[in-house]
Amino acid sequence: MITLGFVYVLAGLTFAAFAFLGLRDRTNPKRFGNAAFWGLLAVSMLAGDRLGDFGNGLLVLALVAIAGTGQIGRAPGGDVPPDVQAQRAAKHGNFLLLVALIIPAVALAGTFLFKWVPGLADPKQATLISLALGVLIALAVGMARLKPPPLLPLEQGRRLLDAVGWAAILPQMLASLGAVFALAGVGEVVGDLIGTAIPEGSLFGATLAFGLGMALFTMVMGNAFAAFPVMLAAVGMPLLIKQYGGDPAVVAAIGMLAGFCGTLMTPMAANFNLVPAALLELKNPYGVIKAQIGTAVPLLAVNILFIWLFAF
């Protein structure tokens, strides 16, 4: 049976290859930092379960030290010239599109297959495993037809990852910070603060505080999942559901979506907001957030109104 362990090995080997190829790139003055950074990430993927909690913590400290002191960066140049790309695009056109669509298509098919046919792969991780299989199939099909130099996919992949840089591990870092916050009881303190700020006896005031609280706390934590239990305990359960008799399904479901509006507006949700800015090579790292605020603010107002209209 294929498990998530297989995907971690594949990711570990990919990062190890990126580290090795980065080390060979003499045009990059930061090649040693790059190699150490992606090499440590490869170790984490391949052997993280054997390092122990403290060992993993030291690995993270090393990653932060390398990136935080500016030791990683991309080499200038190395792009395939645009006219060569255009020539190749004219020749291979729709085949490229087909290969690009293999990844989502296999992810889709595998998700269903692994749920219906037990024993092939861990059904709980079906999509991630299928995504990895899709990558391998797409790579095999692309290599067979295009016949590039054997190392070209890894070299180009490495250059893309170097462009993203340390932002590549930002989502994982923020998720880990959330775990420390939980351990320290940050959620309860914030919940108490918001709970005391609500005007007595106002149904709309309580609804407003719940919706805004979900969005704000999500912005701080970068994740609506962390905000939900806290805001429900502080406002949703004692006031909206118990005191005013609100429908718990509505309060919970739309409250969560009010939190998602917060996710659109915070750099803490790095994988959605900062990583794409790096991946698309935007000049402003907050460009994606800027584009989202105009949707998030009115939608948050709509969500608060929906709770008020539908729950009571």
Binding site: L63, Q85, L299
Partner: protein, 227 residues
């Protein structure tokens, strides 16, 4: 109260644009110390969480495929496809992607599309090409805004589609938390109550995409007038 120092460090650090990895580490250490943990325990807690959340970073394995296809001109091909379609405007293209992303997320297919898999190789270059078809030349700022909106559209579609799916993590979380208070609720109820917001998100973001398209055309006319 003292444990809130970590939040202050995060906000100040992001505002002052320090390296976020350093800010996060400082916040974790300060929060842990304020809660009375010793440094070794904080490092171990952080390390455990980092190891448990490795699945977040495996999406980067798609990069060799994207790198290969881009070296052979995938972005150019995506652009020329859109350039040949007469009716493909920026607004229509991104609104179609929004609907597609919402619909796929609503049936649980959240990882099928995403920023590395679809936005960078396909959606962003297509959006640029659609904007170029209407506007003579995109300025650097306009190009930046079009790309940012391509990424934003992916996020809005994902967030306000996925909660319609029964077995998504957030629904299971809501069910679990409410059961802790003695309310047993079928996942279907949470799913159904996600639909009004999904529709509202489609309307609001769709209108903004139309306005983006109009604004770009207007900027173009002003540029022509001044030239």
């Amino acid at each position: 109260m003292l444990v809130l120092i970590g939040i202050l460090i995060i906000i100040a650090g992001f505002l002052l644009r320090f390296n976020p990895l350093l800010v996060i580490m400082a916040s974790a250490l300060a929060t842990g110390l304020a809660a009375g943990l010793d440094i070794a325990a904080i490092v171990a807690a952080f390390g455990k969480a980092f190891n448990d959340t490795r699945y977040v970073s495996i999406v980067w394995i798609v990069l060799p495929v994207i790198g290969l296809l881009e070296a052979y001109g995938l972005q150019q091909h995506a652009r020329s496809l859109i350039g040949r379609m007469k009716g493909a405007t920026l607004g229509r293209l991104l609104t179609s992607y929004l609907l597609l992303r919402q619909a796929m997320a609503a049936v649980g297919l959240t990882s099928v599309a995403g920023h590395p898999q679809t936005v960078r190789p396909l959606v962003a270059p297509m959006a640029e090409a659609a904007a170029e078809a209407k506007n003579a030349a995109l300025s650097g700022d306009q190009r930046e805004e079009v790309k940012a909106f391509a990424a934003a559209t992916d996020n809005v579609g994902l967030f306000f589609g996925e909660d319609i799916f029964l077995a998504i993590g957030s629904i299971l979380l809501m069910k679990g938390v409410l059961e802790g208070y003695g309310y047993v609720i079928e996942p279907l109820h949470f799913s159904l109550w996600a639909i009004p917001t999904a529709i509202a998100a489609f309307i609001i973001h769709g209108l903004r995409l139309r306005r983006l398209e109009k604004r770009m055309a207007q900027q173009d006319r002003m540029q022509e007038a001044s030239a």
